[in-house]
């Protein structure tokens, strides 16, 4: 799928954004602003980007992740990435972003939230 959509859940101050589709320079544009609007409205102490249903990501996705990391850090919060495929993780590792952004196994964070 060459579109990008997302749904969100909020639970106990953790906002989970489930991204679905392809993340490239074209698709990231609309999603980025909408995610930011939700971050500033909800003021979560943690943002989780669930990439479980992301079937493609190039370095524009890195820009999306790093930009959200900056936004949530400015608000004193943390960013976690979950559900990365091997291919998506390859790009994240290339940038070294996994050294300062928490990357967790598939849906682990979501299971934690559901069990809370």
């Amino acid at each position: 799928m060459d579109k990008l959509t997302f749904t969100q859940d909020i639970c106990e101050g953790i906002a989970v954004f489930h991204l679905c589709g392809s993340i490239d320079h074209h698709t990231v544009k609309n999603v980025r602003e909408e995610i930011d609007r939700n971050i500033y409205r909800l003021r979560p102490h943690e943002v989780v980007l669930d990439l479980n249903d992301v079937e493609f990501m190039d370095s524009s996705g890195l820009g999306l992740i790093l930009g959200r990391y900056t936004r949530i850090s400015d608000l004193g919060g943390a960013l976690t990435l979950v559900g990365m495929s091997d291919e998506v993780m390859k790009i994240i590792r290339l940038s070294g972003a996994d050294s300062f952004i928490r990357c967790e196994k598939k849906s682990e964070k979501e299971r934690m939230i559901k069990n809370a």
Binding site: D2, D24, R32, G63, L66, T70, S95
Partner: protein, 143 residues
């Protein structure tokens, strides 16, 4: 027709971001007779996506233009991808190719485009002239 290529395709795309996905789909269709494995296909789709995005964002700076793409493969399963723009060109190619370097000031560009292309292909070369445009040549031998 490229000398000794088993197959080749030339495309001209409008410099529109919606064509990033088209370039990936076109490459996948072109390479399907070679039956590349999933990882190889992902690598090459990502590489072409990066190159086309660079043309749009940096070469033509979001304005109009044409992106020229040459795809070819050879009997030894070497795939060659050439992506060219006639945009602004790169002043310092070495600097541009440094990981995380970007001329974008919005804070939303990762600056990893060339790094990804270089890492996902066996060979990658950039030719550019300020005011004339940029060409990126990528090569990968499939298993």
């Amino acid at each position: 027709m490229l000398k000794n290529s088993a197959n080749s395709v030339k495309m001209q795309l409008d410099s529109r971001s919606v064509n990033e996905a088209f370039s990936r789909a076109a490459l996948a269709a072109f390479l399907s007779p070679l039956d590349p494995d999933f990882g190889e296909m992902c690598d090459l789709r990502t590489a072409i996506s990066e190159a086309v995005t660079n043309c749009i964002v940096h070469g033509y700076k979001g304005n109009g233009g044409i992106i020229y793409i040459n795809l070819s493969y050879y009997d030894d399963r070497t795939v060659k991808i050439a992506v060219r723009d006639k945009g602004c060109g790169i002043e310092d190619i070495k600097q541009a190719m440094q990981p995380l370097f970007t001329t974008d000031r919005s804070g939303e560009r990762g600056g990893m485009g060339f790094t990804v292309m270089k890492s996902f292909c066996d060979k990658m070369r950039v030719k550019s002239k300020v005011g004339k445009g940029t060409s990126v040549f990528m090569e990968k031998k499939l298993r």
